[in-house]
């Protein structure tokens, strides 16, 4: 009878906990493995450079990364990083080289100093101490009735050895004995001996074990939640840094392409310039500089070839550029010129020119377009603004 009860109750509970622990351990190991593999994902050399530059401060700036700065120091860092990547150095070797010259202050996230770690850890230590103390006292309160129960069991064992029939009340059974009272509230004070005392021992034993099991499960849930959060954060940070690096490369390429296209446009190589602006817009259809210059070149080409379709297309680009960046003076000027010269819409043109002049454009721009602007203001019967004087 006793053996059967042990088989059904104790091993089963132990088996369940064992499985839960095994699965938890597997999840923890899996999570750590995923994190390690995620951090080792491949990047292009440009993305790697941008990623490293985002981790290192510009030496002559205050809290700005080498990626975000345009100072000579930042350029030196970029030159160094790209040279080291070409030389086949790893990210950590490159960062360590910079750290060897500047110390950890060159890092955007320097490792915390000893004192800083202590300070950061103090609140957690405080919480842990308080929780530990509360837990300790709580555990002692929980244990107290069990100890009393054990003393009752010992008394029972003594009674059994004196000739009474055994009923297996050794504290390991989970099923209630016939005639025993199982309360749902965790039991009350134990009776003092006999059958009543045996029944009381069940009442105390079972709630104690149940609470500990719940604590175990709660601990496992917290552990899994913690590991899951850690994996999520690590993967999120890694993905964010990869996206940041990719965006930086794209922005850098974009800026260079726009610059090249503007140079070509100034040199009169409109077709080549249009190709480059189109390439930028393929990547980023909301790039206001590319939209403005694309629109302006199309309008000029349309005006030359008497193609109303091209002018319309160009005007749409210009309107979109103004809508996306109302403070971009080039777009205002181009749209104003198109409205004035191609659409003969003087009032519309003046509105754009006013916005253009308000945005403090460069003097070279004003010089290049002064005659058209003065003509427009005169045609509208308005005084010529002092900037054009």
């Amino acid at each position: 009878m006793e053996a059967r009860r042990r088989f059904f109750v104790v091993p089963r509970g132990m088996k369940l906990r064992g499985w839960v622990l095994a699965v938890s351990a597997a999840i923890v190991i899996g999570g750590i493995t995923i994190s390690l593999f995620a951090s080792g994902a491949r990047m292009t050399p440009q993305q790697r450079a941008a990623h490293i530059e985002s981790q290192v401060k510009c030496p002559s700036c205050d809290g700005i990364s080498a990626l975000d700065s345009n100072t000579a120091g930042a350029f030196a860092v970029r030159s160094f990083v790209s040279g080291q990547i070409k030389a086949g150095k790893t990210d950590s070797q490159i960062i360590n080289s910079l750290e060897a010259s500047y110390g950890p202050t060159i890092l955007m996230s320097p490792p915390p100093a000893y004192g800083g770690v202590v300070i950061a850890a103090l609140p957690f230590v405080f919480v842990a101490v308080v929780l530990g103390t509360i837990g300790f006292f709580g555990y002692r309160r929980l244990r107290r009735p069990i100890l009393e129960m054990n003393s009752n069991s010992e008394r029972d064992a003594a009674t059994q050895s004196s000739g009474e029939p055994t009923d297996g009340s050794d504290g390991t059974l989970a099923a209630p004995l016939p005639g025993s009272e199982v309360s749902s509230d965790g039991g009350s004070q134990p009776d003092s001996g006999g059958v009543g005392s045996r029944a009381s021992s069940w009442r105390f034993r079972r709630p104690g074990l149940g609470r500990r099991a719940w604590l175990l499960y709660l601990g496992i849930i917290l552990l899994l939640g913690g590991v899951g959060s850690g994996v999520w954060v690590i993967r999120g940070r890694h993905n964010a840094s990869v996206q940041l690096a990719a965006a930086a490369v794209q922005a850098n390429n974009e800026a260079q392409t726009i610059l090249q296209a503007r140079v070509l446009a100034n040199e009169g190589q409109d077709v080549q310039a249009l190709k480059l602006f189109s390439a930028v817009l393929d990547l980023d259809p909301t790039q206001p500089v590319a939209l403005a210059y694309q629109g302006w070149l199309l309008c000029q080409a349309g005006a030359k070839d008497n193609s109303g379709a091209l002018v319309n297309q160009g005007e749409k680009f210009l309107e979109q550029a103004v809508k996306l960046d109302p403070g971009y003076p080039d777009a205002r000027l181009f749209l104003g010129l198109v409205l004035y010269k191609d659409r003969h819409d003087v009032n519309g043109a003046i509105a754009q020119f006013n916005a253009f002049l308000t945005d403090k454009p460069s003097s070279s721009f004003i010089d290049a377009t002064r005659s058209d602007l003065v003509s427009a203001y005169k045609a509208a019967g308005l005084p010529v603004p002092p900037q054009l004087g």
């Binding site: 030496p59 002559s60 120091g73 350029f75 060897a100 103090l122 609140p123 405080f126 308080v130």
Partner: protein, 172 residues
């Protein structure tokens, strides 16, 4: 529960004392990690057009000075550097141009009567290897090629003389 209250009070008091006695981050300085280590190599074209290498100064004290013509503290320290170079024949001064054009740097040195050599650093790689953030910044290198000290900001003649005296007294 009394114990909990005492522990909590002690933790809070300790935390408060620790925070109150720490220096603000803005006042904390970190010494150069290059001190007492081999000086990074310097090799390049001097402003006069010759090739300059730090290793060719082996056996002498060298004061490597990062400067720029646009930098006001560099203008302040230049006279002291020129005087130090003239009065200490056992010590060489080697200028490194920091974020400046060679022509501006050369006219700056000529204007101040500097006769020591200065090397151009067009990509800023020498400054990067020395951990220079902004000029003027100087490094005293021992005859064995070890960085003895880093001077951030303008130098003055008396402190340079003292540094050399101390370095010599320590057997460098």
């Amino acid at each position: 529960m009394r114990i909990v209250a005492v522990v909590a009070a002690v933790c809070f008091a300790g935390f408060a004392v620790l925070l109150a006695t720490r220096k603000p981050v803005s006042m904390q300085t970190v010494a150069s990690p290059l001190i007492n280590k081999a000086a990074p190599a310097i090799s390049g074209v001097s402003l006069s057009g010759s090739h300059v290498m730090l290793s060719s100064y082996s056996g002498r004290f060298v004061l490597v000075n990062f400067f720029a013509s646009w930098c006001t503290p560099c203008q302040q320290e230049e006279k002291a550097l020129v005087q130090f170079s003239a009065t200490n024949p056992g010590v060489s001064v080697l200028g490194v141009v920091f974020d400046d054009t060679s022509s501006s740097a050369q006219s700056f040195l000529q204007h101040n009567g500097a006769s020591y050599q200065a090397v151009a650093d067009p990509n800023g790689q020498i400054a990067l290897s020395y951990g220079v953030s902004q000029p003027p910044q100087s490094y005293l290198i021992s005859p064995t090629g070890v960085i003895l000290t880093e001077i951030i900001g303008p130098v003055n003649l008396s402190s340079l003389d003292q540094l050399i005296t101390i370095a010599k007294s320590k057997g460098f």
